[in-house]
Symmetry: C2
Subunit: 136 residues, 2 copies
């Protein structure tokens, strides 16, 4: 699946709607010149950027602050061989204190893990692509 053209492309609005209904996505970035990926909890900001909460001193923040990253979320059902995948590509940046006080949905993204010295990272949704697999 998802390796050829036999898919329905999803428009930006549909992609954002799908993203909003899952709690976990994956940050895709480069770490020491190698491709890297990390699942994280996230939410969407008012301007449809991806927001995630992490520790100020984390490897993730060091690797992605200021860099262009991809962010992927999906849902698949093995029984029907159907599902969807959405990828946001854009610049990641650590939010400053001033940014962090801007209004955002219900206090920002929840995290399933306690986070020390938490900071918010925003990934701008510059390019949003998505595909739906409708099953065979």
């Amino acid at each position: 699946m998802l390796q050829n053209d036999g898919f329905r492309a999803l428009d930006r609005q549909m992609c954002l709607r799908l993203l909003a209904r899952v709690p976990v996505g994956r940050v895709v970035y480069t770490k020491q010149a190698l491709p890297a990926v990390l699942p994280v909890n996230f939410c969407l900001d008012a301007d449809s950027s991806v927001l995630l909460r992490t520790s100020a001193g984390s490897d993730l923040v060091r690797a992605i602050d200021g860099a262009v990253v991809a962010f992927e979320a999906d849902e698949f059902d093995a029984a029907t061989r159907s599902g969807w995948s959405v990828v946001v590509t854009g610049r990641a940046c650590l939010l400053t204190d001033a940014d962090a006080h801007a209004p955002r949905p219900a206090g920002g993204p929840d995290s399933w893990m306690p986070v020390r010295d938490d900071v918010l990272v925003r990934i701008e949704s510059e390019v949003v692509t998505g595909r739906e697999l409708t099953g065979g």
Copy 2:
């Protein structure tokens, strides 16, 4: 979750056992100097490499043949806020006809989509890391 050290690291054997029980993972690579990610069906080879089937002329093959990529799979449960994530990092290579006739599990990976001029791509499991989130 997965942003700090509050996780149980999984050993290679457990990582491979978890990988073997999910049908979909995500190839993480670089495309035109940007991070890219694509969900695919996969299986594990006898030597624990990741095998996936795709179209010979696909963008994916062009981008990853000969390159070091990451391959990620995970399962999370929102109700218990628990789950696991495994990442394989290694070189991807298109299998030649000779390679493709080597024994492998039940004909190799199934694909949820019809694939034209199908080829097999192997990702060597050079580095395998995994983490378990046991829930709060």
